[in-house]
Symmetry: D2
Subunit: 466 residues, 4 copies
Amino acid sequence: MNQQNLKLCSEIIDDKYVKIASNSLNAKEKLFKLLLSQRQLPEEGFDDLTIEYLLNIFATMDTNNFVNKVGVGERESRIFSALVQKRNYYMGHGIGRSGDLIASQPKAAGSSLIAKLTKHLAKDALKLSNYQINELLIVPVATGMAISLCLLALKSLKPQAKYVLWLRIDQKTCLKCIQTANLIPIVIDTVIQDHVITTNLDMLIQKINEIGPDNIACVLSTTSCFAPRIPDNIGEIAKICKQFQIYHVVNNAYGIQCNKIANSINLGLAQGTVSLIVSSTDKNFMVPVGGALIYGNDKKLIKQISELYPGRASAAPILDLFITFLSMGKSGYLQLQKERVENYAYFKEKLQIMTQKISEQILNTPKNSISIGISLQNLKIDQNNSEEKNQITKLGAILYSKKVMGSRVITNKKNKVVCGIEFKNYGSHCDNYFTPYITVACAIGLTKQEIDTFVQEFEKAYTQNT
Amino acid sequence: MNQQNLKLCSEIIDDKYVKIASNSLNAKEKLFKLLLSQRQLPEEGFDDLTIEYLLNIFATMDTNNFVNKVGVGERESRIFSALVQKRNYYMGHGIGRSGDLIASQPKAAGSSLIAKLTKHLAKDALKLSNYQINELLIVPVATGMAISLCLLALKSLKPQAKYVLWLRIDQKTCLKCIQTANLIPIVIDTVIQDHVITTNLDMLIQKINEIGPDNIACVLSTTSCFAPRIPDNIGEIAKICKQFQIYHVVNNAYGIQCNKIANSINLGLAQGTVSLIVSSTDKNFMVPVGGALIYGNDKKLIKQISELYPGRASAAPILDLFITFLSMGKSGYLQLQKERVENYAYFKEKLQIMTQKISEQILNTPKNSISIGISLQNLKIDQNNSEEKNQITKLGAILYSKKVMGSRVITNKKNKVVCGIEFKNYGSHCDNYFTPYITVACAIGLTKQEIDTFVQEFEKAYTQNT
Amino acid sequence: MNQQNLKLCSEIIDDKYVKIASNSLNAKEKLFKLLLSQRQLPEEGFDDLTIEYLLNIFATMDTNNFVNKVGVGERESRIFSALVQKRNYYMGHGIGRSGDLIASQPKAAGSSLIAKLTKHLAKDALKLSNYQINELLIVPVATGMAISLCLLALKSLKPQAKYVLWLRIDQKTCLKCIQTANLIPIVIDTVIQDHVITTNLDMLIQKINEIGPDNIACVLSTTSCFAPRIPDNIGEIAKICKQFQIYHVVNNAYGIQCNKIANSINLGLAQGTVSLIVSSTDKNFMVPVGGALIYGNDKKLIKQISELYPGRASAAPILDLFITFLSMGKSGYLQLQKERVENYAYFKEKLQIMTQKISEQILNTPKNSISIGISLQNLKIDQNNSEEKNQITKLGAILYSKKVMGSRVITNKKNKVVCGIEFKNYGSHCDNYFTPYITVACAIGLTKQEIDTFVQEFEKAYTQNT
Amino acid sequence: MNQQNLKLCSEIIDDKYVKIASNSLNAKEKLFKLLLSQRQLPEEGFDDLTIEYLLNIFATMDTNNFVNKVGVGERESRIFSALVQKRNYYMGHGIGRSGDLIASQPKAAGSSLIAKLTKHLAKDALKLSNYQINELLIVPVATGMAISLCLLALKSLKPQAKYVLWLRIDQKTCLKCIQTANLIPIVIDTVIQDHVITTNLDMLIQKINEIGPDNIACVLSTTSCFAPRIPDNIGEIAKICKQFQIYHVVNNAYGIQCNKIANSINLGLAQGTVSLIVSSTDKNFMVPVGGALIYGNDKKLIKQISELYPGRASAAPILDLFITFLSMGKSGYLQLQKERVENYAYFKEKLQIMTQKISEQILNTPKNSISIGISLQNLKIDQNNSEEKNQITKLGAILYSKKVMGSRVITNKKNKVVCGIEFKNYGSHCDNYFTPYITVACAIGLTKQEIDTFVQEFEKAYTQNT
């Protein structure tokens, strides 16, 4: 509300009240000024009114909301449903243009500002999480497709290269994103060290030599993974990639929440080659599925991906992220990360006590500070593989029926063909592991109450089962 | 967004786009300027974004939304539930102060502006509906309680007067609002003229003389009513009230939508005494139940009612009305009124054809241009009053089961004690009427489709029944 | 979603998933069952989805949302604006009927259920706060008007009684609600005992004798008040009222949050006459202004008030309360009360330290466990009453400019005519107090951070001023 | 609400009211039953309450909304911001799994149902628009990226093929989506026939022979385009593709709204090869940018694309579409299409009259029934290309300043390199056109008022300029 209108307000209610009220309006403008000039997470999160107020301003800046506008194009962001309009805060033009995913749109200044600002906020969040990177792109596709985009870009830069050296991790998407880009994965199997499943650096070097660096589009490593798999040794891989001048893409799906991974990636960036890092927005920032960050230090390369994207895209994942960053603020974001670290220690402690009671053990994988594995050595798997007699499968089923979501039981006995490649013991990240186990993750947003209930339900289900 | 912030936007996206966008923001400021300066319904209704944008500005002006505010009072509008916050657009201080229902609140400049503006908009709406009045109060209570407030105010001005002369209309609330004010109703029965049930002016004069003007708090007349009752003859009643110097309150619950009633009231205002007129907000302006307008030309008297109200009150009915007025605009409001008049003619025409087919008739009450009565002469009412054999009751039940809402079947045979007074044939507004009948109303917002379906379902139910 | 439809879902997605999902739907039904059968605050608060789901069910039960309904009445709850519709969760029929404020509405089963359930939940909340009452009415008007309704009801039961004996408390609304009911207030002045301002029981008895019990509509006492005024001695007043057979209304505006007041009222109910108690919904349950509870043990009397209310009323205050009760749950409600008690102790402790530094003192009023007074003995009030030189007024202004809301500075020097009665030193609840002071309240929802900031800002403002 | 709970309701309010209310709840179940069993657009659109009710049911079926659930996975759809939660209707799991974009998610039965149903509704919408196809996939990416996905899939099926034969249309995205897939575009220039710019079938055949069918990944044609370009001759192209056994992708971005295009595509499908057709959701169904449909008759091929997509994806575009389809219903959808056809005739008529006045002409391109070109022969373009003196550029600027959005001025004088290819007169779809012109589109949702204003503003701007 401008000065003139505030003056009109003073003719309606007491000028004294208008004065204080205008201070409040000015205070919001100051918050917006900080946001627009510093482009960082606000110190304290905005309240919902402030966020909606800002979104309304931005929506008003989009042409589809102009009073008396005449739209004679084929895309004027006319929205049929009032519910759809409201849930999109009256914005509809999406993001990007034919030239560039992050280009401003002439018809949508407000949406464009949101897109640009969210990028800055995401960069700031990464900085707060100790990532030493200087360029970032938010893509409105999830991690898998984002990696495919990276691979497509690298392929276009190195058209003759057909192979991606892929450090085995048994999540189907990780493999599929190579296939989507019409590249051929070469599996680098893991090695087992005591309880730990980790990167086979020797085999990596051997395969590079075998295939020839010129034929390799990139190495694809992974940091966030289920124990007993631990994050790939990014530092060493990066050095190898640098040595052979090979691109290196890091699948850091949900690793932003973990400082150890940040350090490992920073090491890689500093001492070797880390071309592109990809992270999920939903797993790290508590938004709905739908977005990913692509980041690193190679500004030119990231720009290339941005320019590669053909046409416009949904603004939804970015809008969710924008609202969330404003709502969290710096203090909220750091608090969540702090709580996660505390919860991880708490979870381990509780599991330690419980596993002793049932004569099982926590798998010893300290380098994985998100996921925890618990051995299931005493549970019997029926020889004839009959599911009904399989105590381990039953355990999973009981937990599921108790509304325990996200734990994974690994029985270590399944071979499977994925994307045309046969894997031994698919799901366990290695050909052979000494015990069946169950994994749980201590992810951002998990509560102590959930930990307590899990430990309790697990013990009950386990005991009931033996 | 102020100039400084817009400039910052230009550093983020193309200055050219910011320029046009700022035109849009300015266009909104101009809309707000018109609203704040003219205080009339906008020519064209605002879109929802503009309304929410304005509400967010007003909410920001309320102290409970100040950033870093310290609330050490007992009422700081802290709202527990996010859903409640959102549905109240982050406002919680209500309206009014101890001194006056329409006083501005120091803690709630935004809410106060809404309350004041809505009053102006309601005055404008009345003007558009041809009401020649110059003062108005919106009360966050429905018609019944609003009339009680009027009566309490009149009683305080004339403490010795104990009676209200009430022109019979068989709606319980109309009588109860007298009782609530601790006054005693004197029933002035209606007269029947052909099909029409109307005001008994002779009896009114007689009763005034009988009781004595000094003992009469006021005459309470009614304009909006179910046919065959027609609106009271406000012009003549007003003249009588003027002659005897008696206050005159008009229950105009849903009459704003009808020009004929406006004319009748204007006549009363011009030539006689019409002290206070009361109308429902929900029935006239398509908002949820909860508010009423008290209006007239006696500014002092209306101010008295406003000052009579003790303490604060819910802002909800006013907020609903504010949003609705902005959304309708002048053109929308007039269009709705026009459609109602067209629908009334259409409804009558359709009923004419249908009633001929079934050998019934439309009751001839042209002065009631909202409600229509249809005779039910050929349907049988069982002598023993057994409901099951009663064709008329059955008709009502069939219609209800067909989702026909709001039609009323009057069988003309029930006596009833209401508020301690015994009425003959309660529900029919008179002691005896020549036929049972059913009434329907052509109210604002009714659709042609509903009319068609009603006529069809009625004919079917009637035929099925005989 | 019924069984048949769930089966259809199984033809679209995996039956296994539908099964678990249907467990979740059943779990909601179980929550609703508990709510509908026990009619108490749920142990744990509902999440927002569950609340909105339930509201949608209730909305579907209202006739205005029937598919293909035909509305030919004058009030069909047609809602013009989509925003208004959404913010009212598609309900519009309000509450009540002509006969009774809490009567179910044939056209609005869902709205009626909400009204009835909210009443039960409010009763449960009072029980959780230790109130030993067995009847309650929620009125969609704030405390002041609610007291007026009580007085109107009592007046109708005792038509000859013209007076209300009112124990002085300097809040205008408390006095105005007597006037609104066209009754005459008789002021019973307070007595000062050391720091405490309290009930003058002797004068109360004397006045009863003077005026005569038959002429007294009721005694109106107050429990929640600003220090150094303490809650009226309800126990003793109730005994006196019982002795003289006089109605007794307790203004317990924001006292539900305080156990001491509950005990005092219970004592009154058990040993004497407490006819009606009135409390604000916004001040006790963190909802927007607009509702009040009228409660006690005289079921018949409370029914009378309910039946006195003429016509329908806004459902908004009740809907806000319903959502809030569901959202809080029992655990949330008790937690808020516990925090308030802790905050009160914390606030006092902080103030103790600070007042010593500036040589002022906390007024010693332990019986007021919500409001705290702090002496301002060392600040100078200019003899000529020039505001600019008045250090105390300045203090208030500085605090206000620092966004401190709700503190009240009492300079003890103003006479004022309120509702026709002249009061000495209006605002201080007594004719003469030994020191100017400032009051703050430790109300439900106050945060420790606000306390800290207040203490800090107060000290700064005080020091700056001397 | 199940029977048991409805019975409990009957203990709270009158059983009679509960009975009717339960009819309404049953009526909703019946609507849902129709939706789940027929999987078609409902005859009449659902009201917003019904839509939100259904969404709440679906949300309750997702595990993140289970009461007391314990989430120990890395992705549990925890949502930080209440605003984000609400705008996503409490759903967060997105769509798809690693294996398949349309696979059901064990953690999200509700979201999965929405995804599946929306697919069926989209198929029904296509059927209503006369498309004779039997398989469809909704992808949560816009048209450009959707085409890239198609090309990637085709490339994977024909790894040796490197070229896409692309029928020139001067929209950058159309070309870029080839590049994104790491394929090489071969431009097939247009031919001019009188006013019309159209497909050069001869050159297409010649290039196929030149490059060799085995090296061609596909032909990429376009149907929706700006006049004087007309839709590609899909029938003939399809025949050629069939003859040479080449895949054929049709970019039908906004052609669903036009029956002529449907016929042309049906012809192609029937008589030749149309492998995949891609359309935008926002341009055809009035939702925000973000989704596309990929459809055709080759079920296996479409399944392949679905399985190609790596990992999950945003559900937002699908949710918008689901809500919109339910809200439109069949009648609303057909009505919008009918209005568009009427508007097209109206627009042309108005332009006819106006162009005669200013001695310009409508370009004669009857086969383009969405876009219209108007010659600008009399406006001068400065020889020195100085923008300020260029009347045509000025015309565009004036229109823009009048809030006319979406009209395009083509001056026919710009060469441009796009994706590494140099185009003569880029923007005009051909190397040389006889006149500069301006294009407008008569798209779905355009209003008569916008047409009138455009014609008026255009004439004013044109006249002012000459």
